[in-house]
């Protein structure tokens, strides 16, 4: 296995880690206006992610740093090419962070309602923008010979990318509701568990449709799945995991349902990554201009140093992430320190 491939795999792991962890807290943010009826219920939902949301978001920061280091040309092309979209991502990321921190600091109803709106709106915003970005990457962008592109905000909003964004919204809402089922109780739990099957059906339909659409419209995908049929294991695993999640929810085994939902997300992202490989950003202008794992990666000296970092750092990260989740397990109890 070449260093480039190792880093591609590691990168997919980081992105999956982000989608699994921040995915549920974005989902909670999006669900909040629909299922929380009282201020206490809103606070319970907010505090369900309270001790962990920041750690989850760090995976996005790590994703940015790792992309910069391991695939600098992808980082430079993607971030500058999607300039306005990236600025909007920053806007909603900042809005969400301060909304979580500020919301419960004052009793005023208008104050709280305002920040609730920012919290849920920005949770939608992040999911939609990241979905649209992923959609455009799968679809291919107007990359020229020098590896630059200038994609307007409106060009980004094509039907395929919007479909990816809608699917991402459904996926995170589903994932968030499964997470919440471990965290809330009483009426709120009833509402959450009622919602799960509906979200599941909606997501199922969207996901199946999107897989079909991707294979039809993207040649790299179709070729990759034809030449390396074993990678079909990822979409199949995603479907199996989705079904398992459903079964476990019905048996009120919420934790295993959550693990299944997390597996589903990781499997779907692996399915995309395997379908694109070795391309990272396909050029719609000319396939020869595409940025690939080979022509966009950092030098071996950098990749080696980074691999050492990953090998030293990752076990610690997993250890304390697991520790913190273990400590805050169980259903939410509000106290004077809560958000």
């Amino acid at each position: 296995m070449s260093l480039e491939l190792i880093w591609y795999v590691l990168y997919v792991i980081i992105i999956s880690g982000y989608a699994i962890l921040d995915g549920f807290d974005l989902g909670v943010g999006m669900l909040s206006p629909f299922i929380a009826h009282t201020d206490t219920e809103r606070r319970i939902m907010l505090n369900a992610i309270g001790p962990v949301w920041d750690g989850n978001e760090v995976w996005l920061v790590l994703g940015g740093g790792a992309l910069f280091a391991a695939f600098p040309l992808v980082y430079a092309s993607l971030f500058s090419g999607f300039y306005l979209a990236m600025m909007l991502v920053l806007l909603v990321l900042i809005g969400r962070t301060v909304a979580i921190e500020f919301r419960s600091k004052r009793e005023s109803r208008r104050w709280r309602a305002g920040w609730d709106l920012v919290f849920s709106g920005s949770s939608f915003g992040i999911t939609v923008l990241l979905g649209v970005a992923l959609g455009n990457v799968i679809r291919g962008v107007a990359l020229d010979q020098s590896g630059t592109m200038d994609v307007g905000l409106l060009d980004l909003l094509n039907p395929f990318s919007l479909a990816v964004a809608v699917t991402a919204v459904a996926m995170f809402m589903l994932h968030g509701s499964i997470f919440l089922s471990q965290k809330v109780e009483g009426d709120l739990l009833d509402r959450v568990t009622m919602l799960v099957p509906r979200l599941m059906i909606g997501f199922f339909v969207l996901m199946t449709g999107l897989i079909g659409w991707t294979l039809l419209r993207t040649e790299t995908f179709a070729d990759n799945y034809r030449d390396r049929p074993w990678i079909a294991v990822f979409p199949v695993l995603a479907l199996a995991a989705a079904l398992t999640a459903w079964r476990q929810i019905r048996r009120t085994r919420y934790f295993t349902a959550f693990l299944a939902s997390a597996t589903m997300i990781a499997a779907l992202l692996c399915a995309v990554a395997a379908g694109l490989y070795p391309v990272m950003i396909p050029s719609a202008t000319d396939p020869a201009f595409s940025l690939t794992v080979h022509n966009a990666s950092a030098a071996d000296s950098t990749l080696t140093v980074m691999l050492v970092f990953a090998v030293i750092g990752m076990p610690f990260v997993l250890l304390y992430t697991a520790g913190v989740y273990y400590f805050f397990r169980g259903r939410v109890r509000l106290d004077e320190e809560s958000y």
């Binding site: 920041d54 920061v61 740093g65 391991a70 962070t97 000296s301 970092f309 304390y320």
Partner: protein, 469 residues
């Protein structure tokens, strides 16, 4: 306006706004560790009460740091894509290391720290706090490493690849330990601790002026004032001086700009206040003769290289760098005076607690330390211009070629509006939190019942009763 200038304005604005918060949380974090250690050692509930109060303020500051910090990581790619392509092999790996070693540590333990007051015993809470502060310190270390490589680059070679030239790492050790790294990180950490301790002084003095929470306020000052004073002296005499020596060796043009030295000379003076005009190449003001020579070489007759040794096209904006530097230096001197005066009044029959003038100065101190830290950072960054990587890559041309004026005006306006709203709200909430004051001391039995070792956490069943589990 050129896109380069707009890119610089945006980056300067966003990074300066961000830079208000990390030093504050590093410094307040240090004080929280001291409170935690006292709490463990003495068991006096007063320390825990102080921790509970300051952890809330810490949370507010920290969230601002997170919110504004992620912007920079995006901006290297969005606004400086040519730079990113050139340095990705080096700079990117330092940012990634910051993510994995620093942010993950902070992010992991932050929840335990912020919500630990009602969930953790003294020891475990101190542990969580220490981990978060350690994470923040690692973060500062990696980012100063990355920035120091831009100031004094080494351990790389430039090779021409298909899409232009790129820097390749030849020695990781050299990249990390550039000559400016150690002096700069020491200077920055000391500055951050001063910002944090002055924040604690400021709040304590405010309570004393209002005659509220008098005992707790005195405790805050008793912890923060000696630290602040020692740091203020060490900052000027050791860390600051050490960094000036480093700059004179590694970036002589920057040092020349800091003091407005145009022709190379011996017995160079150091200005207290002044003005310099790079078109006439003249510097006027009040100066101490030969002090700059002494500062850079411990010898009053040592030669100081003037800007004449550098082509004019490679000069920074001399007066800007000069003014920022002198603002920092003068504030640094003022901090020594404040610290010593405060300690003297304290020792001298406890006058400090009632001297309203001194207390007012202490209330203002946090704004001054913030200003000094920012002006120091501006000195370093404006002084590096016109290079984005010193003597290797110019700032002009390092921006994203595909991002136009319209997009930049949009994003700059967005940040200006957003940051004004966020800063205003932050200050209002901070003010409220301070006015609310510390919470009543918690029940000692309750604290004793909280888990205080790793074993206890694992032995305990989930605290929350639930019908489903």
């Amino acid at each position: 306006m050129s896109t380069e200038l707009l890119d610089r304005i945006q980056f300067g604005l966003t990074v300066s706004f961000h830079f208000i918060f990390p030093p504050l949380s590093l410094g307040v974090g240090l004080v929280l560790i001291i409170f935690g250690v006292k709490s463990v050692r003495t068991g006096d509930p007063r320390w825990r009460q102080l921790s509970t109060f300051w952890v809330k303020i810490y949370g507010l500051i920290f969230s601002m740091g997170i919110a504004t910090g992620i912007v920079q990581e995006f901006e290297f790619g969005t606004n400086w894509s040519a730079y990113s392509r050139f340095v990705g092999n080096i700079f990117g790996s330092l940012l990634a290391a910051e993510g994995i070693f620093a942010f993950m540590l902070e992010g992991g333990f932050l929840g335990l720290m912020l919500f630990g007051g009602t969930r953790l015993g003294n020891r475990l809470w101190l542990f969580a706090t220490t981990m978060v502060v350690l994470g923040a310190t690692f973060s500062a270390t990696w980012i100063v490493m990355a920035n120091s490589w831009m100031q004094t680059p080494q351990g790389f070679e430039i090779k021409d690849v298909g899409q232009g030239s790129q820097a390749f790492m030849t020695s990781f050790h050299d990249v990390v330990f550039t000559p400016s790294f150690v002096p700069r990180i020491l200077h920055l950490l000391a500055a951050s601790w001063m910002v944090g301790t002055s924040m604690v002084l400021s709040v304590g003095a405010y309570y004393l002026l209002r005659r509220r929470h008098v005992e707790l306020a005195r405790t805050m000052i008793r912890v923060a004032l000696p630290l602040f004073t020692v740091l203020a002296i060490a900052q000027v005499a050791l860390f600051g001086a050490n960094q000036a020596v480093e700059v004179s060796k590694q970036q002589p043009a920057k040092l020349a700009a800091m003091e407005g030295v145009y022709t190379t000379r011996t017995c160079a003076p150091m200005y207290i206040l002044g003005w310099t005009d790079q078109s006439t190449q003249r510097t006027t003001g009040i100066a101490v003769p030969c002090l700059l020579s002494f500062l850079t070489d411990q010898n009053f007759d040592a030669p100081v290289t003037g800007l004449e040794a550098t082509p004019q096209s490679d000069w920074p904006q001399v007066n800007l760098v000069f003014q920022m530097y002198h603002l920092m230096i003068n504030l640094g001197m003022l901090f020594i005076a404040i610290g010593l005066a405060g300690c003297a009044l304290w020792v001298w029959r406890q006058k400090l607690w009632t001297n309203r003038w001194m207390l007012r100065v202490l209330v203002a101190s946090v704004f001054l330390t913030e200003l000094a830290t920012l002006s120091g950072w501006w000195t370093a960054e404006f002084g590096r211009q016109p290079w984005i990587v010193w003597n290797v890559l110019r700032t002009a041309g390092a921006q994203s070629p595909n991002v136009g004026t319209g997009q930049l005006i949009f994003s700059i306006s967005m940040f200006v509006v957003l940051y004004i709203v966020v800063l205003y709200t932050f200050l209002r909430l901070l003010d409220r939190q301070i006015k609310q004051g510390p919470p009543p001391p918690s029940d000692e039995d309750e604290i004793a019942s909280l888990p205080d070792s790793f074993g206890e956490i694992f032995r305990r069943r989930s605290r929350v009763s639930s019908g489903v589990d």
